[in-house]
């Protein structure tokens, strides 16, 4: 892999202006950079000098800088508490501690990888993203379109009271998931994301009362049937669908607790 020009941006404006050029790439943790099919990068833009590696907590939300490492998220006691341990569970299987010290939340989101544990959980949590020019928007909308030539600066997680749970199935530790599911439930609604299908995670929703009336088994079957799956060397589409149903049911039971 070759990089023709490398700039450590000194401001978001500089980063954004550089990113308007064709063949420019914003660097995240660079974990997959060497494996990328793009062998020649004309202009690499490094955001590491912009202070985007912090987790800020306010009364109502967490504001997470795009360059925050997955490991920083994993060991954050406040985030662990807010997500009922689901964030830690989603992150702890990703390769190894060294990898998670490098990989960034911004890179994980902008990569929009199908196997992403991070996107799966954040979709279930109904997270927002902040773009330098585009402002704040739902991750669900961003995941469908990507950043284009804008610059992702923050991820926003609301502290709105809800239960959250995450589970994934892997052939062996540290491998990509065969299937990944996350469920979050507020007093009004239940939200589920199914990822590693193997394509990108999708979101499913239900009114809490309806989900409680149907019960976890029926709800999980309905959700698992509503999503398409593919086959690859890790598992067949049929296997993924069946495992998605099992994981959804278990997560619904945990999140809805006494309601079901």
């Amino acid at each position: 892999m070759q990089i023709a020009q490398y700039t450590k941006a000194q401001s978001l404006t500089e980063a954004w202006e550089l990113h308007q050029k064709r063949h420019s790439v914003i660097l995240g943790g660079c974990c997959w950079l060497r494996l990328s099919p793009q062998r020649m990068i004309q202009h690499a833009i490094d955001l590491s000098a912009l202070g985007l590696d912090t987790i800020e907590e306010t009364d109502g939300e967490f504001r997470i800088g795009a360059m925050t490492s997955l490991r920083s998220l994993e060991v954050s006691a406040a985030l662990e508490c807010c997500t009922d341990g689901a964030l830690k569970e989603a992150l702890r299987h990703i390769v190894g501690v060294q990898f998670r010290n490098m990989a960034t939340i911004g890179g994980s989101i902008c990569g929009r990888f199908g196997f992403s544990d991070v996107i799966t959980l954040l979709l279930a949590l109904d997270a927002d993203v902040v773009l330098y020019k585009g402002g704040r928007m739902k991750l669900e909308a961003f995941a469908a379109t990507g950043a284009g030539t804008d610059v992702l600066t923050h991820v926003i997680l609301s502290k709105a009271g809800r239960g959250t749970a995450y589970a994934s199935l892997r052939l062996n530790a540290t491998d990509f998931p065969i299937i990944a599911c996350a469920v979050s439930g507020s007093a009004e609604a239940v939200r589920c994301a199914i990822g590693a299908r193997p394509s990108r995670a999708v979101v499913l929703r239900a009114v809490r009362q309806d989900a409680a009336a149907q019960g976890p088994a029926k709800m999980a079957r309905q959700w698992a049937d509503a999503v398409s799956y593919g086959s690859n060397m890790r598992g067949s589409a049929e296997y993924r669908r069946d495992m998605a149903e099992v994981l959804c049911r278990r997560l619904l039971e945990r999140v809805m607790g006494a309601d079901v």
Partner: protein, 155 residues
């Protein structure tokens, strides 16, 4: 070419590098031959070094990223590494030895970060370090002995 300034094993240095050069290749070019090239796909942990005291994979990080930062390799940790290696040798936790430098760097990071780790915590922290010879049980024995001895000294 671009110029970077950094601390390598506690020593201030400056270098001219190609922007696309990986840290692994750069460190080896600087004589840090403890940094081994294994999978090059971020899976094996052989190339583990510390960046600002945190373990990272030098095969997947650009050398340009160390500008203004502190890098530590096994060459800068020889005393502690020798101590751990004694326990590894005693417990049969090395055979070909190729994975040892990366393994030692990650263990030394772990004992700084996790107090009195359990087997599960050790397994989880070291899951990014592969060893194809020993089967890991001997690693665990060596680590427990090392941590116990270290704790006794620290107390």
């Amino acid at each position: 070419m671009m110029n970077i300034a950094y601390l390598l094993n506690g020593k201030k240095e400056k270098s001219d590098i190609e922007p696309g050069m990986m840290l692994l290749d750069f460190l080896r070019s600087k004589g840090c031959h403890s940094v081994k090239c294994g999978c090059e796909t971020t899976n094996c942990g052989l190339c583990t070094v510390w960046l600002n005291e945190k373990p990272v994979l030098s095969c997947a990080i650009l050398a340009a990223r160390i500008d203004g930062q502190r890098v530590t390799t096994l060459e800068g940790m020889q005393e502690e590494a020798r101590e751990l290696a004694l326990y590894m040798g005693r417990e049969g936790a090395e055979q070909c030895g190729f994975c040892n430098p990366g393994f030692v760097m990650n263990v030394l990071a772990m004992v700084r970060e996790v107090t009195d780790p359990t087997d599960n915590e050790i397994n989880e922290y070291l899951s990014g370090n592969l060893c194809r010879c020993t089967g890991y049980a001997s690693h665990l024995r060596a680590l427990h002995a090392f941590i116990k001895a270290k704790g006794a000294v620290d107390v």
